[in-house]
Every structure is written in structure tokens, then in C-alpha cells.
């Protein structure tokens, strides 16, 4: 670990892979595709900078400090991307493992390096597959611990954030509709199906199929759009 700067986990992996021979372990380690070499000690230092004084977590204050250091707004979507890399379980908290693991997977071990990576991280949102993963991740991350559904307010906030990156012309109508007609929490199924809806159905709803097994909330949304003359009734 001291020589390669690898984390404990990776070191153990390499050793196991080479049957506990030290030489072999080095080979295994260096032959693994790596984005960059991260220094374990420096990551620890970074963690200690942000963590709560009396808990093994990074909480709100630590995160705002981090944002300040990075010179990004805490509401900036890049924080979501970073949280996704960390596999954070809830927003506004990072555990020790999440923080360290996340930064490693991004391939940085200092604030400067992380700053440099920010544009690349933002660019990940343009990738279809990654966007979907991040989108679905956002649901679990944004909801309250122990709740099954996402509160409407938070959901709307997240949607507005996400669909600023991947443009959807009907986003405002959607949020309006929810506030006027639904006023309840959003289920996971509705959340993930909405992305499918956005990706497959065009804004004029010409290829919307009533029999398409969309969640009923989306069916009601379509009715709402028709009622308000936003789209034509295709039948």
C-alpha cells in the first residue's frame, strides 16, 4: 500500500489474485487498468478535513466546505455526479467508505485534482447510459431514509435539476400537473418510468400508446396535456 498508494481493498485483491506472493501482487496491481494512482494517505487527510468532529461521517457542514473548496454551488448537479460515484446512500451525508471509495473511483486524491475533473464529471451526464444510472440513483439518494417514496417537493427539485441537463420540453407542464392534480409522494416506479417516457415518447405525444402500460400518473398527465390544449388528441 505504501509503495503503490493503493487502498487496502485493492491491495488485498491483488494479493489474493496472486496467491499471496508479494512480487506477483505487484504485477497484478500494475496490470489492472487504472485511471490514476491515488495516494491513500492523502485521501485520509482529505476525509479528516471534512468529517464531523464527533462522528465518522461527513455531514452538511463538511459538504458545504467541500463545495466552497471546489468553488461550486452546493445545488450544482456535479455534486450529484460525485455522490453517484461515491454510491452515497443519502443526500447531505457521506460515510468514510463512500467518500474514500468515491474519490478513488473518480481517480483523484486532492482538491485540485478533483477540480480539474469537474468538467469531465459534468460531461458524464451527456452519456445516455450514465445519465440513466445517475437519474435512477437520484431517487434513492434524494428520498428520506426509511421512506419508500420521494416527497413531491424534492422530486420536483431533482427533476428540474436533471432535465436542465437533458432537455425535456414538457418538464414545466409535468411539475405543474403534479402540483395541481397529484400532490402526493412519487413512487420509484413512476420515477424510473418517467425517464423511459421522456426518452421514447416525443413531445407532441404522437407515439404515445394508451395500452403501453405506463404508470397511471403518466396517463393522467397525458390527459391533462390534452385537456389544456398542449397537445392534440390523436384519436
Amino acid at each position: 500500500m505504501a509503495i503503490t498508494g493503493a487502498s487496502e481493498k485493492v491491495a488485498l485483491q491483488s494479493l489474493k489474485a496472486s496467491d499471496w506472493h508479494l512480487e506477483g501482487a505487484f504485477d497484478v496491481f500494475y496490470s489492472q487498468p487504472q485511471v490514476a494512482v491515488t495516494n491513500f494517505r492523502r485521501l485520509e487527510e482529505l476525509y479528516n478535513r471534512y468529517k464531523e468532529p464527533d462522528a465518522e461521517m461527513i455531514m452538511v457542514e463538511g459538504i458545504s466546505q467541500l463545495c466552497e473548496d471546489l468553488q461550486v454551488d452546493p445545488q450544482d448537479i456535479v455534486m450529484l455526479v460525485i455522490s453517484w460515484h461515491m454510491k452515497a446512500s443519502t443526500m447531505c451525508e457521506f460515510s468514510h467508505e463512500e467518500f474514500i471509495g468515491g474519490l478513488q473511483s473518480i481517480g483523484v486524491d486532492s482538491i485540485e485534482k478533483l477540480c480539474e475533473k469537474l468538467p469531465a464529471l459534468r460531461a458524464e451526464l451527456k452519456d445516455d447510459q450514465k445519465f440513466r444510472e445517475i437519474y435512477n440513483f437520484a431517487f434513492t439518494w434524494a428520498k428520506e431514509k426509511g421512506q419508500k417514496s420521494l416527497s413531491l417537493e424534492t422530486a420536483i427539485g431533482m427533476w428540474q435539476l436533471l432535465f436542465a441537463e437533458r432537455h425535456w420540453p414538457l418538464i414545466d407542464y409535468w411539475c405543474q400537473f403534479l402540483q395541481v392534480r397529484h400532490n402526493k409522494a412519487i413512487s420509484r416506479d413512476t420515477w424510473s418510468q418517467l425517464l423511459e417516457f421522456v426518452k421514447t415518447i416525443d413531445p407532441q405525444l404522437t407515439n404515445y400508446d394508451e395500452e403501453g402500460a405506463w404508470p397511471y400518473l403518466i396517463d393522467e398527465f397525458v390527459e391533462y396535456l390534452i385537456e389544456n390544449g398542449v397537445v392534440q388528441h390523436s384519436k
Binding site: R188, D189, E211, A213
Partner: protein, 732 residues
């Protein structure tokens, strides 16, 4: 024959040395020719058959077959031409007769000629593939006479003319017709068909086309059909009398086409006399005729069916949406039953119980009965009416029949679970107020429902009956066991098992002390024998009989509800009470109390209380007094609650809501059952399967099914397939 002197013994064929008389043929032929002439002249008796036969035989033997044949042909032709002339000369009506006569002659002659020339017929002719003598004779007849220029047309015209006249009502010579057509048939079926049948059919087609046009302008449908039937019968008879049997089918098809098929729409849809009119006026005879006639027409029955269906649906829809009718539920249902009876008898009488018609009726009824979502309630009210005391049908058999008919209507209901809810409510009221007229009839109805819907439908209803029986026993037991009741009022207690009876939340009111005492004793007795149970008095459901003495001296026994009893007992202590006083003391809910007071004070003939002011509405400070001037002709006065009525709007909403709530778990259970066995299924299939499973009880709404699926997804019973979002997977 010369025998040679002992040379070679050779057997040589016998050579008949015959005179080769060069005139042999001529002589022989002349003999035959004369004979034939005599035959045609009806002079055959003078001839020797044997001689002629031998002559012909010899001719053929001497290889004169071809010549003989040709001569014969020529000869016969000659005779036939003579005959033809004579036929052509015949005038008017005698034409056919002459033709007939000559035909007979020719046939007889032909037979004799054939017999004479039998040898040729059997040897020369087959070998040389010539037409046999008899057939030759027929062919010659055909070509020389029947198809001759002058006769051919005339023959056909004569025949057709006679047929036409007969159609117009004249009597014609049928045997002559018969023999003429037989002649044609004998000449060969193609002769019959080409020279007679086909033109006959064509002419008939235009005849009937014209006739049907005339009729339809001036006849009503029923009349027209009668005429069509007549014509059909006539033609069939005509064929059997003087045509080939095979023509029957063809002429029938022509008549059917011209008279029925071409005018089908117009007939069936005719105003004031078409199918609809016949149905409305129960014109069985016309309907039967229409059914049997249109059976022969392509699409005939399906047209009748569809017109009938739309008519029934239309009348039905008007019946169920007419606001006037909806005011009296019992009458409403009675009208439905009458309508069903009417159409059943039409199908039985006129449509020979045709299953497809019965099915069409069923689907029409199902359609319009479900247009009005109050039908389940109304049907239950109808049954309630029939099963109460004092109904018109005194005997049980009649009631049975009525109930069976009601079950037919019940089958059409799509919302059977709604019916169940109402039936339960109505049954409870009947049982508790003692109004069920016949236990047997009640049970019989339950059995019918059970047969139709399965045991779960009726298990709770049966529980109600059991409860009452048990309660009787318990009350008896109570009185047997308690000796120290003294002056306490006699009570009769009904203990209702909570799950079986329709629930109505009830906060018990304050009972008068006399009642309280004995009721608590009862409670003690009951709980003594049934440990662990909880009893709650349902003060909104009971009744009481009170003896009352009024200021004017009249004595009466009043039958009242429990609430009314609580109110009245208060007046034993005080003369005047305000509404608020009563409300506070009795703790009866406001809505019920107001209704209760109205029935005690404002109903003529039942106003045991007096109210000041006399207004209808009850306000807090209204004063109530005992009406000392109360009179009634009857000793026993009933002031109980009114008979079961149809629900008010808010009540209706509530019941419907409860039913919808009950449906949700049923839908979910169905979804889970289906997914458990199928494991993977797409959305539309789930909807179809669920609908199929729940149909006996109600028609689930696809949107509700979708919501239930989503709820199950959230509770992790199901999940969507990762690749195909329309598929759902069962999560074990």
C-alpha cells in the same frame, strides 16, 4: 356338300351357299318400309312380327347393317316430318294435344320398330357405336319436331303462357302439362333444362320481380309475407303436379330471391308494419312467418336478429333512463320482468326457441340493464317487496316463479357485488323488524343466489338466519334462568354477529332506567355463558311496544323504534321538553333525533306528541308535549320507521364508495393469483385475465387494475421487466 374320295380329312367351314340376289336388300327393305308405314298408320295388327324380325335379321347377317340403319333413319325422319306438318297445323289450344298425340304414336311405333330391329340393335349398333334404335327415334323426334323452327318457340311459349295464366288464377289442363314436360324429360335432361326449365325460371323471375314490386308498394309487411308464403306454396305444388322434381329447388330459389331477398331490408324495416311493429304488438303469427321465410334468405336471420337487438336495446335504454320510472323501484323492476317475459314468449312461439336469438336477447338485456347503475339496488328492493309480510301472491309457488324470473335479471347484472351489499341491508331490515313473510321463501332465494354465485356470496346471509335462531334460544334461556325480574319490561334480544350483518356505526343512546336494568341483567347472563365476547347495544335498530294512556282517556299500545321509546319515556317525568333537553338527555344523534321527533309529532294519525311551533323544521328551542287529544281508530298504533326505501343521494354515494373500496383487495388478490401461476405476463394480458376472473362479481375498471398493479410494484410483489417495460414479473 361333296365328300372327296379319301384325301385329307379336313374340316372346312360350312359354306352356306346363298342366293346372292342382287335385289335382296331392296326387297327386304321394302317389306320393312311398308311395315313401318303401317305401324305409323295404326295398322300394326296386320303384321307378322316373326317375319319382319327375320327379315331384319337376315339383312344384318348379310352385312347390310349400315344400309339398313341409314334407311331407317331416313324413313323415320320422313314420318316425323309428316307428323310435324300436322302439329304445326293445329290451332291454339289443340297444339299441345296434337303434339301429345303424335308423341304417343311415335313412342308406340318406336317400340315396335325397336323390337323388330332387335337383332341390329344388339349386334350391329354396339359394334359400330351407333345410337340405339329407340334413342335414335327420340333424337329424331327432338330434332325434327321439338327443335324445329316453327314448333320450338311455339311449344315453349304455349307452356309458359299456360303457367302464367295459372299463376293469375285460371285453371289449366295440368295433365297435358305433365305429359308435355315428361316428354321433354324423356328426351333427355338437357333438353328439359335448355328447352323448358331455364326459360321457365327466367320468366318466373321477371314475373315475381314485377309482382313483388307491386305488392310492396301497397301491402303492409305482414300481408306481403302472407302473399309470399302463398306463392311459394303454390309453386311447390305446381312443380309436384307437372314438372320434374329437381325444378322445385330452383323455382323456390327464384321466388325467394325476387320476393324476399331483394326486398328484405325494406320489409323488415317497414314503418308501422315491419319487424319492430310486430314485436311491439306481439303479432306471433306474422313473426313466425317472417322467421320461417327469412330462414331461406342469406343473412335473413342475422338481419332480423340485429334489428330486434337494436330495438330491444333502445326500448330498454328508454326504460331504465326514464326519470319517471325511477321513482318507484318495485314498479321499475316489474316492468323489466314483463319485458323479459314478452320477449321470451316471442322467441318460444315464433322463433322456435332459436338459441342464437335467445343469446341476442340476453346480450341486449345485459346491455341496457347495466346502463343504470341503480339496477342492483332496485332489484334487491323488488325482492324485498315480494318477501315482506302482506304481499299479494299468497301462495309460495307463485313467489318461487317470481324469484326465478328475478334471478334471470340478476344474471345480467355486471355489478353483482353491489347487489350483494344492498341485499344484505334489506335482508337485515326484514329480519330485524320481523317483516320476512316466509322463512322458506327467504331460504329459497338464498339457495338460488348460492347456485348462481357460489357459497361465499351467501355464507354471511345464512349467518344472519342462524343468529336469529340462536338469539331466540338465548332469550328463552335468559328468562328460564332469571327468576327475579319482577316488573321489568319483557325484552326480546337479537344477538348479531358483527361480520355477518351490515355494519352501521352506532353510539348507544341513554336508555330509560326500566330498560337499562333488565338489559344489563341480560348482558350479565350472556357474558356468563360466552366468555370473551363483547356486546354493544344497537339502539338504532330496535323496536318497542309501549302502553300509553292519554289525557283524554284513550289507551293505546304504541309500536315504536328504540329511539322513539327513549324520547317518549321522558314524558313520564316531565310535561314539556325542549328539543335541546331531549337531545342532551337521550344522547341520540341529531339527524336521527330530528327524524324521530318528526315522525312522533308531525304525522297525521300518529302524532302522539305535540310540537310548538307547528313548523316542519325542528330547532333547538321547540317545545314538545304529549298530545292529550290523540285519537286513533286502532288500539295498536304503529309509529315505527318506514319501510325500506331507496337510498338518498348521499347514502348512495357512501354505499358505492364502500363497494369500490371492497373491490380493491379483490382485484389485488386476483392479480397476485394470476402472476403467481404465470410468473411473467404483459400488461394487457393481466387486465384481460383479471377481468375474466372477477366478471361473475363485477366488471373491474382497467384504470383501477393499473393502479393496483403499481401499488403491488411498490410493495415489491411485482416488478417490471428490465428490457420490456410492458412485462411484469412475479417476485416470490
Amino acid at each position: 356338300m361333296s365328300s372327296q374320295k379319301k384325301r385329307s380329312s379336313r374340316i372346312e367351314p360350312f359354306r352356306h351357299r346363298v342366293e346372292t340376289d342382287p335385289n335382296f336388300f331392296e326387297k327386304a327393305w321394302r317389306k320393312l318400309e311398308d311395315a313401318i308405314g303401317e305401324i305409323y298408320n295404326h295398322n300394326a295388327s296386320g303384321l307378322s312380327f316373326e317375319e319382319l324380325y327375320r327379315t331384319a335379321y337376315n339383312m344384318v347377317l348379310h352385312k347390310h347393317g349400315p344400309k339398313l340403319y341409314d334407311k331407317l333413319t331416313e324413313n323415320m325422319k320422313g314420318h316425323l316430318q309428316e307428323m310435324r306438318t300436322s302439329i304445326e297445323a293445329a290451332q291454339g289450344g289443340l297444339f299441345l294435344e296434337e303434339l301429345q298425340r303424335k308423341w304417343d304414336d311415335h313412342n308406340k311405333a318406336l317400340q315396335m320398330i325397336r323390337d323388330i330391329l332387335m337383332y341390329m340393335d344388339r349386334t350391329f349398333i354396339p359394334t359400330n357405336k351407333k345410337t340405339g334404335v329407340f334413342d335414335l327415334g327420340l333424337e329424331l323426334w327432338r330434332d325434327t319436331i321439338v327443335r324445329s323452327a316453327k314448333i320450338h318457340g311455339r311449344l315453349l311459349d304455349t307452356l309458359l303462357d299456360l303457367i302464367h295464366r295459372e299463376r293469375m288464377g285460371e285453371v289449366i289442363n295440368r295433365s297435358l302439362m305433365r305429359s308435355t314436360t315428361k316428354m321433354l324429360m324423356d328426351l333427355g335432361s338437357s333438353v328439359y333444362q335448355d328447352d323448358f326449365e331455364r326459360p321457365f325460371l327466367e320468366v318466373s323471375a321477371s314475373f315475381y320481380s314485377g309482382e313483388s314490386q307491386r305488392f310492396i308498394e301497397c301491402c303492409a309487411c305482414g300481408e306481403y309475407l302472407k302473399k309470399a308464403q302463398q306463392r311459394l306454396d303454390e309453386e311447390a305444388e305446381r312443380v309436384s303436379q307437372y314438372m320434374d322434381a329437381k325444378t322445385d329447388e330452383k323455382i323456390t330459389a327464384v321466388v325467394v330471391k325476387e320476393m324476399l331477398a331483394n326486398h328484405m331490408q325494406r320489409l323488415i324495416l317497414m314503418d308501422n308494419s315491419g319487424l319492430v311493429n310486430m314485436l311491439v304488438e306481439d303479432r306471433f303469427e306474422d313473426l313466425t312467418r317472417m322467421y320461417s321465410l327469412f330462414q331461406r334468405v342469406h343473412d335473413g336471420h342475422s338481419t332480423i336478429k340485429s334489428v330486434m337487438t337494436s330495438h330491444v336495446k333502445e326500448t330498454g335504454r328508454n326504460m331504465v333512463t326514464d326519470p319517471e320510472r325511477l321513482k318507484d323501484p318495485v314498479d321499475f323492476v316489474q316492468k323489466l320482468l314483463n319485458e323479459k317475459d314478452k320477449y321470451d314468449s316471442i322467441v318460444t312461439t315464433s322463433f322456435s326457441n332459436d338459441k342464437s336469438f335467445q343469446n341476442a336477447l340476453n346480450s341486449s338485456f345485459e346491455y341496457f340493464i347495466n346502463l343504470n347503475n341503480r339496477c342492483p339496488e332496485f332489484i334487491s328492493l323488488y325482492v324485498d317487496d315480494k318477501l315482506r309480510k302482506g304481499m299479494k301472491e299468497a301462495n309460495e309457488e307463485a313467489v318461487e316463479t317470481v324469484l326465478d324470473k328475478v334471478m334471470m335479471l340478476f344474471r345480467y347484472l355486471q355489478e353483482k357485488d353491489l347487489f350483494e351489499k344492498y341485499y344484505k341491508q334489506h335482508l337485515a331490515k326484514r329480519l330485524l323488524s320481523g317483516k320476512a313473510a316466509s322463512d322458506d321463501s327467504e331460504r329459497s332465494m338464498l339457495v338460488k343466489l348460492k347456485t348462481e354465485c357460489g357459497y361465499q356470496f351467501t355464507s354471511k346471509l345464512e349467518g344472519m338466519f342462524t343468529d336469529l335462531k340462536t338469539s331466540q334460544d338465548t332469550t328463552q334461556g335468559f328468562y328460564a334462568a332469571s327468576s327475579d325480574l319482577g316488573d321489568a319490561p319483557t325484552i326480546s334480544v337479537q344477538i348479531l354477529t358483527t361480520g355477518s350483518w351490515p355494519t352501521q356505526p352506532c353510539s348507544p343512546c341513554s336508555l330509560p332506567p326500566e330498560i337499562l336494568g333488565v338489559s344489563e341483567m341480560f348482558r350479565g347472563y350472556y357474558l356468563g355463558t360466552h366468555n370473551g365476547r363483547r356486546l354493544t347495544w344497537q339502539t338504532n335498530m330496535g323496536t318497542a311496544d309501549i302502553k300509553a294512556v292519554f289525557g283524554n282517556g284513550s289507551k293505546h299500545e304504541l309500536n315504536v323504534s328504540t329511539y322513539q321509546m327513549c324520547v317518549l319515556m321522558l314524558f313520564n317525568l316531565v310535561d314539556c321538553l325542549t328539543y335541546r333537553d331531549i337531545e342532551q338527555t337521550t344522547a341520540i344523534p341529531a339527524v336521527d333525533l330530528k327524524r324521530c321527533l318528526q315522525s312522533l309529532a308531525l304525522v297525521k294519525g300518529k302524532n302522539v306528541l305535540r310540537k310548538e311551533p307547528m313548523s316542519r323544521d325542528i330547532s333547538d328551542n321547540d317545545n314538545f308535549y304529549v298530545n292529550d287529544k290523540f285519537t286513533s281508530k286502532l288500539f295498536k298504533v304503529k309509529i315505527g320507521t318506514v319501510a325500506t326505501q331507496k337510498e338518498s343521494e348521499p347514502e348512495k354515494m357512501e354505499t358505492r364508495q364502500r363497494v369500490e373500496e371492497d373491490r380493491k383487495p379483490q382485484i389485488e388478490a386476483a392479480i397476485v393469483r394470476i402472476m403467481k401461476s404465470r410468473r411473467v405476463l404483459d400488461h394487457n394480458s393481466i387486465v384481460t385475465e383479471v377481468t375474466k376472473q372477477l366478471q361473475p362479481r363485477f366488471m373491474p375498471n382497467p384504470v383501477v387494475i393499473k393502479k393496483r398493479i403499481e401499488s403491488l410494484i411498490e410493495r415489491e410483489f411485482l416488478e417490471r421487466d428490465k428490457n420490456d417495460r410492458k412485462l411484469y414479473l412475479y417476485l416470490a
